[in-house]
């Protein structure tokens, strides 16, 4: 085991870099980080579009969400890999291909989380912000999204963890991320598959667990800053009685 690690740890971490393209764990982390950073804004935009009062905005995005959600990520990767070059005319490298596929796929899932998060905020909040004279965008940015994102945090982390693991599908198009490297190592020392893939599993676990812990800490900090849920939650029963 130690011998295995000693021989291959640099290869595992950065691939053939600096004598070749960056690979290994570094590439996985880079890909996952970029995918998260790009997919979240896309998710917010698509989520807002999904509940837009304008049909021209709502319908196409709804269609995209249903289509992308209805196919496996692997199909999306194949589309990006084979379809994209035929449209753009030049071949996209594996990293960009994988990134585009991940951002689109996760953006769509995040859109549904964002939509649910916004719909979960009591209607009075938006009404009240509008009554103060804030426009739609300011209402969203200053009042609704800060609350919604807080409620969405557990679901967001779930999706982010999934994204990290999904980077391993880059293997299929020859992207030299960490799973690909592990498979390479395995063919070179092919009697020790358990150890190689055990280490690979451990690596993913550490990444995902680490992200979960960071998110957990963030959640606790937010809860401490403003305790409990929307202020209007408690008197609802009374108001129902009053208006009954």
């Amino acid at each position: 085991m130690t011998e295995l690690i000693q021989t291959y740890w640099v290869y595992f971490l950065i691939g053939q870099y600096p004598n070749g393209p960056l690979g290994g764990l570094a590439l996985t982390v880079l890909l996952a980080a970029l995918a998260l950073v790009l997919a979240l804004p896309l998710g917010v935009v698509l989520g807002l579009a999904r509940i837009s009062p304008f049909r021209v905005v709502r319908w196409p995005v709804t269609a995209i969400v249903y289509v992308v959600r209805g196919v496996p990520l692997l199909m999306v990767i194949f589309w990006a890999y084979f379809f994209l070059p035929s449209v753009t005319g030049h071949k996209t490298d594996q990293f960009s291909t994988m990134l585009i596929a991940l951002v689109l796929f996760d953006g769509v899932y995040l859109a549904e989380i964002v939509r649910a998060g916004i719909l979960g905020i009591p209607k009075g909040q938006a009404e009240c912000a509008r009554s103060l004279g804030l426009g739609y965008w300011r209402t969203m940015r200053l009042v609704i999204l800060p609350q919604a994102l807080r409620h969405m945090l557990p679901s967001l982390v779930n999706q982010f963890v999934a994204t990290i693991k999904e980077t391993s599908l880059g293997y299929i198009i020859g992207l030299t991320e960490v799973s690909f490297i592990a498979a390479q190592i395995n063919t070179q020392v092919f009697t020790r598959a358990t150890e190689v893939y055990g280490l690979l599993a451990l690596t993913y676990f550490v990444l995902c667990f680490g992200l979960s812990r960071v998110a957990h800490g963030l959640e606790r900090r937010l809860t401490r800053r403003s305790p409990v849920r929307p202020a209007s939650a408690s008197p609802t029963l009374q108001s129902q009685q009053a208006s009954a």
């Binding site: 909040q125 009240c128 009554s131 609350q147 800053r225 202020a231 008197p235």
Partner: protein, 247 residues
């Protein structure tokens, strides 16, 4: 100041406002009362365009407020609106709730907005709670912060949609006290409320509504002592003797 002219509103087939024609003068305090579902909340919500109207016109200072092309946000920022559910923004402190709109809409610097809002929180007796989050405040305190927040835009008109209905009984008084002080300062106010004591003491005029119609308009003195419309007489007798057997 405010003029309703033949205002009608329908929810599908349901006729929520029926030919409402009314005038409210500058500085007047008007209490709108009536049984549940009588259209009083709908009426007040049409005044800042939270509800659209079907026909007729509503004008404020001569301007048709339901016309197309009106700058709704600028218009709404000139009207304070108080909700039954307070609707404080739970992720912001009391003072941040108050400064949000002035900073973004009146282009005040955060320091200037904070200073002005502190004065308002002091006016509603909550300067010491400026940095508390809504969840740390009682219902009465939340509603008072909501009043300060509405006042921060310096509106010439304040609308109250059952501001004390969601409050525990012992907290109603503190909110009414603030509202009474506002009225004494000459604010134009339209209040939908079940607080008959408040109506009697503070209102210049009472409107009584049922089934979307304004059935009676009178001074509080006349309304409470000599209600004219049979439905108003019934309503007043119901709220005075809640345990009476229906005749």
């Amino acid at each position: 100041m405010i003029r309703f002219d033949q205002v009608n509103k329908w929810y599908g087939a349901y006729h929520a406002l029926v030919d409402v024609t009314e005038h409210i003068a500058q500085g007047e305090v008007v209490v709108v009362c009536g049984p549940s579902g009588s259209g009083k909340s709908t009426l007040i919500r049409t005044l800042n365009r939270l509800e659209a109207i079907g026909s007729g016109t509503i004008s404020i200072n001569g301007e048709d407020i339901h016309r197309r092309g009106l700058d709704v946000n600028a218009f709404r920022s000139r009207i304070g609106f108080l909700f039954q559910q307070f609707n404080l923004f739970p992720h912001l402190t009391a003072i941040e709730n108050c400064t949000l709109a002035p900073v973004h809409l009146r282009r005040l610097t955060p320091a200037a907005a904070r200073e002005a809002s502190m004065a308002l929180l002091d006016r509603v007796g909550l300067a010491h709670k400026a940095d508390a989050y809504p969840a740390e405040l009682s219902g009465g305190q939340q509603q008072r912060v909501a009043i300060a927040r509405a006042l921060a835009m310096e509106p010439p008109l304040m609308l109250f949609d059952e501001p004390t209905s969601a409050l525990d009984p012992e907290m109603v008084g503190e909110v009414l006290l603030v509202m009474r002080a506002l009225a004494k300062d000459g604010m134009t106010m339209v209040c939908v409320t079940h607080e008959m004591g408040f109506a009697r003491e503070v209102a210049d005029r009472v409107l009584f509504m049922d089934h979307g119609k304004v059935l009676e308009r009178a001074t509080p003195e006349a309304f409470f002592n000599r209600p004219q419309h049979p439905r108003a007489q019934q309503f007043l007798s119901d709220i005075r003797t809640p345990f009476a057997q229906p005749a």
